[in-house]
């Protein structure tokens, strides 16, 4: 347990010092946004065993909502983020209510299809800018005070939000609600026979996950200053699955590691190999499923458990 605390402390120190280390803050913000997205996704896949293939819909819809309100209606960033999150939550409620009517693979196909519907709406709707997306989204001032135009200020804001989301998810998973969710994951018929209204738990988990994914999307819109169709696309849904799987489903820190690895790969690999990056990501996916199902953090945790304990002095 102590080793884990040391790792967290070092990571926290690193995150605080990022601007001093000369790491491009926009890149770090991208990592943090996707880490938040993957953590939100993990709440659903890792703790609820629901494989959604349409999470980009919530991420992207919130990004569009925030981007549009800030650009066309000159809303402040705080209110626009809240509105984006509300859109994602509402969308999560609708999609979730439909999707939980089936399980397993059907669940995946339903979320994929409904996300495609959201994609087409974003493509056709008058306020999304069609193929161009929304460009030049201003960051504005948070609550009229904090100038988010500065990368440094925005970085610490994103970091703070990320830490809050991370701790919130831990809290949720350790709450009675989270325990029931895990019970449903492990044995659905047993949970039913114990008298739990499993659909309510599943729906709440879905809405929570969609809401937090939306928060990540809204922040991403402000960080980059643009929203495009790729934010709502199938490939983004696939990416978040990969991040979670690669890092370790059902572990708290796995999705963060997965997001960091995948984002870094995309950034640096695309300079080296160009368009092959999609095929390489696909190959990582295959490798992960075949021989690495617990993910990076999951495998490390398993290793720690297997190592014989040192005798106490």
């Amino acid at each position: 347990m102590r080793a884990v605390a040391v790792v967290y402390a070092l990571l926290g120190l690193f995150a605080l010092c990022v601007p001093l280390l000369g790491i491009y803050p926009v890149f770090m913000m991208q990592v943090l946004c996707f880490a938040m997205f993957a953590c939100a996704y993990n709440l659903l896949l890792g703790f609820g065993r629901m494989l959604s293939f349409g999470h980009a819909a919530f991420f992207g819809a919130a990004a569009y909502a925030t981007g549009w309100l800030v650009t066309a209606h000159a809303w402040g960033p705080g209110a626009a983020i809240l509105a984006g999150v509300a859109v994602a939550a509402l969308l999560g409620l609708v999609v979730g209510a439909l999707a939980i009517r089936r399980q397993g693979i059907y669940f995946a196909m339903i979320t994929l299809a409904l996300a495609q519907l959201v994609y087409f709406v974003c493509l056709e709707a008058p306020f999304t800018g069609g193929e161009n997306g929304l460009q030049g989204v201003p960051r504005g001032r948070l609550l009229g005070l904090l100038p988010l135009k500065s990368d440094l200020v925005l970085y610490y804001l994103v970091l703070a939000v990320f830490v809050a989301v991370f701790l919130f998810i831990r809290r949720v998973v350790h709450s009675p609600f989270g325990q029931v969710l895990k019970a449903i994951r492990d044995n659905e018929p047993r949970a039913i026979s114990l008298g739990y209204e499993i659909n309510r738990y599943k729906l709440l988990a879905f809405v929570l996950s969609a809401t937090l994914a939306g928060l990540a999307g809204s922040l991403k819109a402000l960080v980059f200053g643009f929203v495009t169709l790729s934010d709502v696309q199938q490939s983004t849904s696939g990416e978040v699955v990969l991040m979670t799987l690669l890092g370790g489903t059902g572990t708290f820190f796995g999705p963060v590691v997965g997001a960091a690895v995948v984002t870094t790969l995309q950034q640096y690999l695309s300079d080296l190999v160009g368009g092959w990056v999609i095929a390489i990501i696909g190959a990582i996916f295959v490798g992960c499923v075949l021989s690495f199902r617990r993910g990076i953090v999951g495998e490390l945790a398993a290793l720690r458990l297997r190592r014989p304990r040192r005798p106490r002095p």
Binding site: I278, G282, V286
Partner: protein, 294 residues
Amino acid sequence: MTSVFGIPVAVILGQLMLGLVNGSFYAMLSLGLAVIFGLMGVVNFAHGAFYTLGAFAALLGLQLFGINYWVALIVAPLAVGVLGMLIERLLLRRVYGLDPLYGLLLTFGLALVCEGSLNQVFGATGQSYPVPPALEGGLNLGFMFLPLYRAWVIAVSIVVCFSTWYVIERTRLGATLRAAKENAPLLQSFGVNVPLLVAGTFGGGVALAALAGVLASPIVLVNSHMGSSLVVVVFAVVVIGGMGSILGAIVSGLVLGLVEGLTKVLYPEASDIVVFVIMALVLILRPAGLFGRD
């Protein structure tokens, strides 16, 4: 009677025919998915990629070796089917017995590998495949113009779909396949080579997708993402029809194609999403799907 709701009948019929062409592809793809799922319990997320591969096999065969359309119609599905069997033997086999979600994730990764590579090698812009000379032109039926090639696609698809249904539901081979799903060890003890049967099933389902790809190549532009956009609609079709039923997959594919064509006439803005909306309605009214048994 030359117009309904102020829309000329010829236009409606034309769109219905285009819808039926799309429906033919939906039917062939959802049939392949249903066969693979029904007999192996695997959802093949790479189904769209195999459809794309079929089209590319036809295109490259023509460009590199001068293989004509009629030969490609046989050879491309065979080649893709063999590739499918290899994939089943080398990769897919390793996730049997695990949560079915892993099969889905594995095939999703394969689809990315396949489409990403095709995109990198051939670029994102599509290439066109010529309509075979024997099927050029069309017939003027008086009330509408019927392009020969599209009529051919519909005919081939219906024949192939119903033969597949017949083989699985009415022949001895089909009975053996269904027995393999029911109780593989018992069947094996009767001396049937079950692993080969399973590989063959996957190869067959995938070959159906490739055949659809060859059929589609003269109508659509052949590019790396032609399959991924189609397969999402096919998944919705599968949810609507219920994956347990082979006949259900065929019928819902064809009907949804028609519905999509009709939407294009009445309310074109919704034609891309109508299948998804129907899926949502089916989930509310009849969650197991129209032909579902679970």
